[in-house]
Amino acid sequence: MNEDNHELGFEELAAKYPDFPRLLIRKLDAELRGVALTERALERAKEEGCLYDAAADLGQETPRPVLGGALFRDGSWVLGMEPMYLQFPNGYKRSGSLYTIDVVDGKLWLLDGDNPVEEVFFVSYPEYFGKKTSRGTPMVKVVSARLPGLLFVYLYNRCDFWAEQKPCKYCSFPTRVFRRKPGYTQEGLDDLYETMNEALKEEGKWMNIVLLAGSNLSGNSPYDNEVDEYVKVLTTLRKSFGTEKVYAKMVASAFSREQLLRLKEAGATTYQPHIEVWDEKLFEWICPGKTKYFGRQYWIDSALSAVEIFGRGYVCTQFVGGVELMQPYGFKTIDEALESTLEGAEFFASHGVGPIAIIHRLEKGTVFYAQKQKPAPLEYYVRLMKGISEIHRKYNLSVDFNNYRCHPTGDLDRLHNAAREGA
């Protein structure tokens, strides 16, 4: 037993799962335990142009450093997946002691205690950071980034489920630093257009865009206004790219077929309504807003019908891995939890919807954080990522728009990307 990880520690798990890359176990462990940078590492990040101070963008006096990201040797993430400004490990309930990044013999290393365990590499922040639109809006407030290659457009970070006091219990969405109300104005869209154009000037940088908003129930039919916002953004991106289709991932509420057709018409190529948790009772407990509007089956049906519109491999649904272990209603063992979640993952995959999963982080501002819940153990995540990747393989289902450069699920899929397509 290792206190840091509740159950089996890193070395024990590496021995127990020899076909699971050690480096990826390390990555999962680092995400669970958190990573802090020493002063020396911060200095190095500054020297390498990888530390951006967002204080001026936020109108603040005190420095708000943002790290451009840090990668392992294999190109997967150490830091950077967490939303901007939250990359330093405050505000989370973690499992055990923090990892640190420090300079050892001139190189950057991830350290477990005093032991350098993996070499890491900083990523520089984007060139558009620090610039303003012609209306004087800091571009970083218009489009943020998860680095090194993902542009992040928060359409707005308000969710009607929060307003109704029925948020998903792991969700901290409204606490994001840059607040944006629903309803893009023409000025807002012009800012978006300028910012995208500026960001895209940096060649060899970007490969993914995510569009994200909270659930918005307003409109002639529920979610109609949310769809309107996506349409506005897609139309703007279409202008930036000069193409009919926009290769962005769209994380959104459960839309009807008509709504999905409108989005496709506007250039959407993908769609991602998140189921979050598979077990019916737990879904109702953990996602009361989704349950009320309009229940688990509605969210499932939306994902399934989207496959007919966007095609196999262009629709995903996400599980927040570990929430099904929250107490008192959650599963008592990781075996039961995995059986349920992987059953859900398999169900979706068999219908052409790519299942993906993230690590549940107990973040300040969430119901689960306030309830002082405990994070799921490392072994759960090793088995979850393995199980989901095996399902992708079994169904020959690509989740490429959530690949390893922008989502934690894609890591293991790197081993079965090819299927002998060529050298």
Partner: protein, 158 residues
């Protein structure tokens, strides 16, 4: 210290050299690919661009970096000077100055719709001179009884 001598570095950097990478999949099935962009970095490591994330080569390289497996590069010039370099993938780079250098070169070479998924860095561990004359000499010394009797070094032909 680098395993690569000046002769090998010149060979690798030679624009007319043929550069081939050999990797293996999970079952040991071989896979070879031309790596024209192979170059020697200042620290003695080797680097080449990988065009496609989903290529069998890339998948094999990912497996190699995760499970500490070797890969092999063969380099040959027009005169037949040939070296084989066995090494381990050290790093896959898809962001930053090194990546951009390869990325821009790829776009220059193949045009506006070309792709470069990343740059692999290989640490050389073992170098073998596979040039025909050198290998023949070695083999003759080690295995003198594996020579046909028609060979000038075995029998004087009238």
């Amino acid at each position: 210290m680098s395993k690569l001598t000046k002769e090998i570095i010149d060979l690798i950097n030679g624009s007319e050299s043929i550069k081939i990478l050999a990797t293996a999949d999970e079952e040991g099935n071989p896979c070879t690919a031309f790596k024209d962009s192979l170059t020697v970095l200042d620290d003695g490591n080797l680097a080449f661009g990988e065009e496609f994330e989903g290529s069998q080569t890339n998948v094999n390289l990912v497996r190699s970096i995760w499970f500490n497996k070797s890969v092999e590069l063969t380099v040959r010039d027009r005169r037949g000077t040939t070296f084989q370099i066995k090494g381990k993938p050290y790093r896959y780079v898809h962001a930053g100055p090194l990546f951009k250098k390869f990325y821009f070169a790829e776009r220059e070479k193949r045009g506006a719709d070309s792709e470069l998924a990343g740059v692999w860095i290989i640490t050389p561990e073992e170098v073998r001179n596979e040039t025909y004359e050198i290998r023949k000499k070695e083999e003759d010394e080690r295995h003198p009884f594996f020579r046909h009797f028609d060979r000038a070094s075995v029998r004087k032909v009238k």
